[in-house]
Symmetry: D2
Subunit: 329 residues, 4 copies
């Protein structure tokens, strides 16, 4: 039984608390949050204690911490937790600053403790099945990868302002997924984008609509499209095209019901957002983390994966800003 402390009792913290509590090999021992009330409430739900970050990190009976706090605290907490001998599962990104992220992961590495980054989509049953089949050769060598990712509604401007921008906050998931499926590092990135969903997003210097293309050394190409809004639900699709065919992972609908009438044939919207769509992914992610920690294996995706996705996000940001194609790595 892995004793886990959860740092952060926000929306995603709630998802993790449930996953930890229902996993047969882990136990939620304590929860912290800047909002003590939120921590107490979440802890109470699962028979855990409400504590400070420090009290969790310093507790020798806790084997692992799951970091689900705000992004600007991630690197400090990773350093502190690994220094204290904990295995760490940290929500993406490590840090908005690449330099700080690199320093943090170097420090963590030195402790020998494992750090896994929460790129949950790798663990979605649909995307992981697609990736497995690509890796097994179902379509021969991969040639074109297309990722579509659209949120149902944009976050508040206050979130946008602290987010690091669309490329680092949202598309970073797609960069990681692209690397995961391509099995090769992109060498160049070109990005275009604008603020079409909400002018206020543009006013704070960010965009809400973007397309990116990338290519690898062997000539594989990838395209990513992002929007902060999708009227039909959380749009999460992947398409891989290879020598012998194509694999597509489609959206997950609320039900399988289709309604036919004078209007045509109507099926349900896509599951509304990440809490529903990626519920299984979060469970699988935790399971992979626990499995690796218990076996003494390096968990994946690791800090290196976190850095590489961040480097692609930075390159996309610079490409958008400078209107140049940006070489990576």
């Amino acid at each position: 039984m892995l004793a886990i402390g959860l740092l952060g009792a926000g929306r995603i913290g709630n998802v993790h608390a449930k996953a930890i509590s229902t996993h047969p090999q882990s136990k939620l021992v304590a929860v912290s949050d800047v909002n003590a009330e939120a921590a107490a409430k979440l802890a109470g739900l699962y028979g855990a204690e409400s504590r400070s970050n420090e009290a969790i990190i310093d507790d020798p009976s806790i084997g692992a911490v799951l970091i689900a706090t705000s992004t600007n605290t991630h690197s400090d907490l990773i350093e502190a937790a690994t220094r204290a001998g904990k295995a760490v599962l940290c929500e993406k990104p490590v840090d908005l600053s690449l330099a700080r992220a690199q320093a943090c992961l170097k420090a963590a590495d030195a402790t020998g403790r494992p750090v896994m980054i929460g790129f949950n989509r790798r663990f979605d049953p649909n995307f992981s099945a697609l990736r497995k089949r690509v890796a097994e050769g179902a379509i021969g060598a991969l040639e074109i990868l297309s990722i579509t990712s659209r949120d149902p509604v944009p976050p508040p401007i206050s979130y946008i302002e602290r987010s690091g921008g669309l490329f680092r906050d949202m598309m970073i998931h797609d960069f990681d997924l692209a690397r995961f499926i391509l099995g090769e590092e992109p060498m160049a990135v070109s990005a275009m984008g604008s603020a079409l969903v909400d002018k206020a997003i543009g006013d704070v210097g960010d965009i809400d609509t973007a397309v990116v293309i990338m290519e690898t050394a062997s000539g594989k190409v990838a395209q990513i499209s992002n929007s902060r809004r999708a009227a039909y639900g959380y749009d999460q699709r992947v398409e891989a095209h290879g020598v012998n065919g194509m694999l597509q992972a489609a959206n997950v609908r609320e039900t399988t019901v289709e309604w036919a009438g004078d209007h045509g044939f109507t099926s349900d919207k896509a599951l509304n957002f990440f809490l529903e769509r990626y519920e299984a992914a979060y469970r699988n992610e935790l399971d992979a983390f626990i499995g690796a920690v218990k076996a003494g294996n390096k968990p994946h995706p690791d800090g290196e994966d976190g850095l590489k996705a961040l480097m692609l996000a930075d390159a996309a940001y610079r490409s958008w800003k400078t209107k140049q194609r940006i070489a990576v790595g």
Copy 2:
């Protein structure tokens, strides 16, 4: 917190034990089984005790029992449990004998304790959404209802022999679902069927392939098709046709991945069997039971629903045997 005793630690008992243990308002107190080892193992998994049926039924701290034992014990256990003041959730059918089922439910009724019958499909998110939309008038008055139900593989002959036959064991679910969606009682049943999947099924007097049509007093018609085998997974579909359109609940696939190649476009098989396909249904069913018990409401489907589905199954059996259309009710 509703304290629940689980009678039966077989495959379906395992599903219920998990649902009871993870429901926020119920607690699995004890488990029984003719196989004491199975009961102990299942009880151990969820921190419950292993006991005899009697010890569970006689425990005043237990508020409800869930009966998941073999069919021939259902009516005795319903009577004993309600007599002891328990609320009861019993797997279908109440009894293979209509007379015995009627007597049992009369006795249970006299105790004033609620009895809910486990027609899990009513609680499947897809079928319940379809039914809700029919009831809300999405397609106007219903005219034709079609239910397709095909198991991936037939059960062992030993099971078939004790099952009461395809109509009472398998199609009974479809009869209940038909009543649930039609909102009217079928007045007549015609059945045809044969043993095509396995000759041995025919040898013990049963069939494995059947079609049934029914009609209600207002002229609505329904058709049901059953097979004990489906190479492509557990085939569970409903189609409702009305004045203004049609509602269809399709199968649930393992993933949303589609693989395209020289062979065409291939998507996953249907979820393999009831444990996977109806996992949410079992949870929702338990939730409805707990909700009704806590609120002091009559749970649905109840004993009456159990009897009516059994009457349709009996009528279908007689129709098949006598090659006659059989009037019901």
Copy 3:
């Protein structure tokens, strides 16, 4: 080049006129109709002459006639045309009276001239592909066949009155398709039905909503569902279930466009009616007829097929009327 005379310039006559005129091996020579103006107009469209039935049948330069007149004239015209040495392609049914149909086909047979019956659905690219794959063993031995057939809107009552009733006018297509795909003769029929779409249809003694089940000597079962109304277009589907799997022929949509929004995902209605849906089927049917006539082969479906479908329709009618299962053949 096969010189063809077309008897009947109604809606279906127009479809055939176009098919004959654009087929590379046939020529539309003359058109007749009780409405001389309609005949003249249709003939004019394709550079053909407008004539009487007799003038067409007696013209030795005409090798074949296509009979698309009202049902009550079919058997007389088949007899006259074959007696005059013509090959005949006649719209279904041969006659509403089984006895008259039998007599007509016996007379036609005696002339040695080929008679093909226009069961167009056999030639639909989707249904014929499904049937071909069943015959090739794609799903092993067939076990359950399901046919759904729903018209977008009911015909006028004046048509209903002369139609012979739903079983002989509408479901006869499904009986033929069932025989075509089953590869075996149904031995028994049970039918249920009512007038739900339009009370006036019930007032003239007919029904507009019906379900039928049938079984063959080897135990295969079939189900057919018919409605005279479908808000979502012309609903024409076939599903065949066998030892190793299932084949389904779905509806044809107006376009492949899907529209997603807050309402969900909406695709187009089914093609509205037989003229659009079966345009290719009519062309393929004519092509098969021309091919058989030119090669001196017996065309299929033939008069025997016409009779057998009619016998099933008669049995279904009697089953509905008498509330009995009816043995056939």
Copy 4:
């Protein structure tokens, strides 16, 4: 009746000959080809004459010519035909050289005779329905446009060598379609691509796999993906994402049959290539041309559209070559 002369009796010439001959308002008068035998054969099929280009262009009884010759002859023939007073429908592209194309269209313009460019995809029922619904506001203002276009197999290297390269030969269709649906001009293009399908294509300086992104002045973004190979048929899809939703035009399958078995659910490949997939598009294109010529209207897409698509193709080519984002217009 518009008398049309067809220049070019190759594969696409055959498609046009059939469309011209079966259109109720046009007549195929004469066919030319560098291969006189091919011209004679095609002309014979439709009762037309086989002639030289000059004899067609100089015939005053011919009102329009359809140019389906090899690309390098297009601009000369457009000039000659318009000078001779003909309306012209010319296959894309006008010329591989932008300067030559501009000169040609200027000369043609001076004659006052209409020139339509054969961007057939605008007339595909699926794409034109999608575009109409975008224009009507079904999804509000457009934000992201995605076009996928993959040929089933690459053309021979001899064709590749003369083709002008993937961007001018293949993606030019997608550039035109993008302009057509966007309703705005792209201002910048970034391209990536490689020769993954066939090394020989790379050896002659071309690529067979490419992705492009573009943006308009108002910030709309578009992505295009091309491959010269698709194992599952001719892959032709469009997706438009806007304020209120999404419109997708899916591929057209050979039939609607789906085959389910132990392997999953398999539906047919996409229609194999442009002759089948765009059969209706070619007919609709001709219909639009004839309609415009008869009404004295300017047909669309016109020479300007041809130039603009070529400018985008040129920009994409330069972007790929120079690894720079290229501004357009």
